[in-house]
């Protein structure tokens, strides 16, 4: 119970530190269990020191930086116990192009390290271009969804203004 959670915490923290350092070259981050000696009662803090800056909590980062860091935490948890399927619904929404590229490289690393199949919902053309295949969801009839295979060009047309 408690021992397993402490052990899982150490493994996840290890993955998280590595992922963060890869994403934010020159920065450092780590997790902490706080407010209680008992891991089943404790809170999970995310401490970050972005490149060139002092240590602070996740809340001091910008919106895009927070999203990328939280996504790294999700992937750290994932690596500790890889599921057969990982699905991500628009996690790249607040990211600028440079961070979308980092997100895609992190995702490619998850793909390389595991047998997991990934499903990624996105509106971002950069993310779309890095997928192994694309499904387009449409409503040719109002209120009725259909799903079709699309190539990148068709996908870009789909998300462009109707």
């Amino acid at each position: 119970g408690r021992a397993r959670l402490r052990e899982a915490f150490e493994v996840i923290d290890g993955h998280f530190r590595n992922l963060f350092q890869t994403l934010f070259e020159g920065g450092e981050a780590h997790l902490a269990l706080v407010d209680s000696e008992d891991p089943l009662e404790a809170g999970l803090e995310i401490n970050v020191s972005p490149p060139g800056k002092k240590l602070g909590s996740l809340s001091l980062m910008s919106g895009g930086e927070q999203a990328l860091t939280a996504t790294a935490l999700i992937f750290a948890v994932f690596l500790s116990n890889p599921a057969p399927l990982c699905a991500l619904d628009e996690v790249d929404a607040p990211l600028d192009d440079a961070n979308v590229d980092r997100f895609c490289r992190m995702l490619a690393e998850m793909r390389r390290l595991t047998d997991t199949r990934f499903v990624v919902i996105t509106h971002n053309p950069v993310t779309m271009s890095r997928m192994d295949r694309l499904y387009g969801v449409t409503m040719a009839e109002r209120g009725v969804s259909q799903i079709v295979s699309v190539d990148l060009q068709e996908a870009e047309r789909m998300i462009a203004a109707e």
């Binding site: 397993r4 959670l5 052990e7 899982a8 891991p39 009662e41 404790a42 809170g43 999970l44 803090e45 995310i46 996740l58 999203a67 939280a70 996504t71 935490l73 999700i74 948890v77 994932f78 116990n81 890889p82 057969p84 399927l85 990982c86 699905a87 991500l88 619904d89 628009e90 995702l107 490619a108 793909r111 047998d115 199949r117 990934f118 499903v119 990624v120 919902i121 996105t122 509106h123 993310t127 779309m128 997928m131 192994d132 295949r133 694309l134 499904y135 387009g136 969801v137 449409t138 409503m139 009839e141 109002r142 209120g143 009725v144 969804s145 259909q146 799903i147 996908a155 789909m158 998300i159």
Partner: protein, 168 residues
């Protein structure tokens, strides 16, 4: 254990039956706002035994049944099937040695959900256990809902810790 195919009929905006292969690597899903992308992921979590209607943006679980448009009447059933390739034999042995496992969930208005594994009716609990054993329950941290990253950022520290617990 690999998830290889998802079949949806009558679930939210997927009133017409659809069948989507889930192949290796990374599959992207695209389309305009409101076309059904999140509904697709919700159908997957639903067949895995999700119990929270709220996490499906539904008031009650029956709200996942196609509720009709001005052109089409509401339906009475919704059914989703997840096809699992078990050729590595790693699925829990109580499922026998089938190389293909089909998990289905069907909900009928006024009657709740029934589950089947390879056609044989089973309890919700068995389906949840099947996926929990594979560290892939409907609440798995690997299934990230729209807006869930923002929730994680804003969460109180004790609520964030639950993410760890799901994985441990």
């Amino acid at each position: 254990m690999r998830f290889v195919r998802l079949r949806i009929a009558g679930f939210k905006s997927f009133v017409n039956p659809v069948e989507a292969p889930i192949d290796e690597g990374v599959t992207g899903i695209v389309g305009p706002n409101g076309c059904g992308k999140s509904n697709f992921l919700e159908a997957l979590r639903w067949v895995m035994g999700a119990t929270s209607a709220k996490a499906m943006r539904a008031g009650g679980m029956e709200d996942v049944i196609f509720s009709g448009t001005t052109e089409r009447p509401a339906r009475n059933h919704a059914e989703v099937t997840l096809v699992i390739d078990n050729s590595d034999g790693l699925a829990p042995s109580r499922l026998g040695r089938d190389t293909v496992i089909e998990v289905s969930r069907r909900i009928t208005r006024g009657q709740g959900s029934t589950y089947r594994i390879n056609g044989r009716e089973t309890r919700a609990r068995d389906v949840q256990l099947l996926f929990a054993d594979a560290s892939s329950g409907a609440n798995s941290p690997a299934l990230v809902r729209q807006g869930q990253i923002n929730e994680l950022i804003a969460a109180k520290p004790e609520n964030r810790r639950r993410v760890l617990e799901e994985a441990a």
